[in-house]
Symmetry: C2
Amino acid sequence: MTAPTELQELRTLLAEISDLRGIEALLYWDQATYLPPKAGDGRSSQLATMAAAIHEKQTSPALGRLLDKLAPYAEQLPPDDDVRALIDVARYDFDRATRVPGPFMAELAAHTGHSYVAWAKARPANDFAAVQPYLEKTLDLSRRYAEYFPGYAHIADPLIDSADRGMTVADIQPVFAELEAELVPLVQAIVERDGPDDAILGKYYPEAGQWAFSLEVLAQLGYDFDRGRQDKTHHPFMIRLGHDDNRVTTRVDEHRLDGLLYSSVHECGHALYEMGTADTWRGTPVDSGTSSGIHESQSRLWENLVGRSRGFWEHFLPTLQGYFPEQLAGVDVDTIYGAVNTVRRSLIRTESDEVTYNLHVLIRFGLELDLLEGRLAVADLPAAWHERYQASLGVHAPSDVDGVLQDVHWYGGLIGGAFQGYTLGTIMASQFYAAALAAHPEIPDQIRAGQFDTLHTWLRTNIYARAQIHRQRTPGACHRRRPRSGALPRLFAEVSLGRCMGWMRDA
Amino acid sequence: MTAPTELQELRTLLAEISDLRGIEALLYWDQATYLPPKAGDGRSSQLATMAAAIHEKQTSPALGRLLDKLAPYAEQLPPDDDVRALIDVARYDFDRATRVPGPFMAELAAHTGHSYVAWAKARPANDFAAVQPYLEKTLDLSRRYAEYFPGYAHIADPLIDSADRGMTVADIQPVFAELEAELVPLVQAIVERDGPDDAILGKYYPEAGQWAFSLEVLAQLGYDFDRGRQDKTHHPFMIRLGHDDNRVTTRVDEHRLDGLLYSSVHECGHALYEMGTADTWRGTPVDSGTSSGIHESQSRLWENLVGRSRGFWEHFLPTLQGYFPEQLAGVDVDTIYGAVNTVRRSLIRTESDEVTYNLHVLIRFGLELDLLEGRLAVADLPAAWHERYQASLGVHAPSDVDGVLQDVHWYGGLIGGAFQGYTLGTIMASQFYAAALAAHPEIPDQIRAGQFDTLHTWLRTNIYARAQIHRQRTPGACHRRRPRSGALPRLFAEVSLGRCMGWMRDA
């Protein structure tokens, strides 16, 4: 059956939306990198105008009519057909968009713009009071957003669905509970024994050398600087401005060697995913990563399973020593390998080790539910934060800077749906990596020799190139798609997720 | 008479357009500063989509109805009323926009995006052939654009009008002819005598020092880095992304001291104008510089009348010597002052001295007319360029890099209307400056002492704050608005424009 002419018309409308979303992404990228200090209000207004313009296109009656016409055609296609996937995803996006009024989207965009600016100012000043009213409005907007999707089982479900289609609180909570039950005693056991020492990471490492090293690492891992770039920001992120424009950001601490590097590699993992989507679907909604969870599986895979492996440092230590010959004189592979895998009762999620990392995520996920359910007031959030950290990790942040103000998510977006992907992704990362190793047992040796191509190609073929085409094929939870490719010791059963952490891989 | 409710509705629609135009400006800024090499096609598509979205808003029937309803109200207001100016400018913009179809605007935006990318690649490669087809299409689009405004006296008039409302070829040609008749023998006379030596500018000046010095100069001149920033680009420009976001760009040549500095100061002059508009009209079309000519009068004023004055160097030489103590050891004020005012048969417009500068502009203006009138084919443009330079300036560029490929204008926009503003602005700059000196004779002494406030305040009050509100009050040629504030020796009569050049001011 030949494709109806409506398919081309659909692609024209989708390409417009895709352009506008790329433009919106540029507004956010610029806001977080180069925007002049006093331009925040103007930018918020631009974001609101842009959100309204996008919403208008996303909900246009012409688009709805096309999708209606294409429905019978799609139904005749095999379930795993790519065009069927495209039509399905376009329909899903249209249905979601039409539920939420345009003025709400504009109000949300303007508010999150203002809120981001307030956070960027309040964080260095340790001033939670300054962001509290913004956060209260964010919570109100988040609840209102959820109400546009009546019939949910949990108020967070519509918010989670927008990041991880098909996932619900009911899916996530048992997985997280199981994980927490394993992790808390595990952290306790690890910190009580003599672990490796990370003092070497705390010397003075000037920015220029850290920056140049990170660029070299990214280039070797396969990041294409002709289709992206790296800049500095408050809170690292990767953003897709277009099929050939996938930018990463990182931040600098001259008194800590691993912060910039692992943020860089993490965002690079996201970017490799986006850079690897097939050219065929350029300008359509399937030409981008499929969900927050799958996305994080790629960032966490490169950050941890590759970046914290012994092989990685066998290859990269000499290069790093070239940048910092004095600071790293006489340091051997075991020392740096141990240092970047040190486990401690950490305060900062993005800089935490692999074992404690998921506890940070679980705390945030739990707080999001409490806020949305009305069990926790925004005013009480800092105290609740400290209380949970004490219970789960046994630490108390000296201030809100390293407490409730540390992550940008709630200050530049909605509350709900922002965090579960990190842990789902971490779990999937181990599973994907195990599948790659099953197919190519030579990968670790290659990494040791500075060759990342086999792994990259496996990921491109099996994950990147399919992008959101995966979505349609497995409606429902993305994490159910985990490969089960053999009895590898590293691929742990679902009942022992606590041991599924990458840190144990070659420790 | 109280303002009708339609006025507020008008401002709401205009604010949306203003936001979208600011977003479009960000797309251009990013394209010229940080866009990854392979993202050019995607950006062109985004520019086209954005142009169509803006055109849709600019020509919306709702806007037309509001303007119709407001017309009788505007007519009752005094001719110099600000609200009347706003309504007039909005009407003018609406009428212009509705003459040009949206798809044409999208095609133009996409084409100029591609053309800019081709130019950025072709210029370093000295490859005119690579851009020739783009330029041919640009010429075709320029002619088609003009045809949407039938009834013109000259095909360039509609194009000139979009930059300098009310100006025509018939207005400009006599002024330029007179100027050329004076300038050609003047250049001849100057280069034949012994002039100052600029060897000092050609030493090796590392980028970091040049960059830091330029930032210091801009800050002292009054550029507000909370409402703007400076970045590197191929061809320097200033761009307004919003009322509080006015960015400048410059470029670096480590073997030439004055290129970065004077580009910076030139763009700073544009930015001071935009930064000085009154807050009252934020989000409306009158909240921006009024015309290309008036804009260039501000950039040229700061670049030349201030930046190349002896007083400027009395103040800034010690600072510059702090950045380059070895290169500038023993250099005195007269040496640097002479060096930055050296007149020679120059090849590059943006780096030329004040005397030859306008000859560069006149050559381009003449070529634009020849192209538009069909008297010159794009294929013959490089040869025509060399011929004109030989006749007018007595030089022949060694390649097209410093010939027809040197300026971005024709490669990133239309042919026609791009250049006349530079010379009109240069003329007006002297006249505005003379008026400022008549009001405040202490200005030169203040500059010598590093105080730029009095001049800045005079410009803000008399020019910046009025922005486009000037437009309505004097329909017709902007250059007719030149102040005639006394018999100052520096304010030359219209018949001897050749001597109206700032360079003679204190030479």
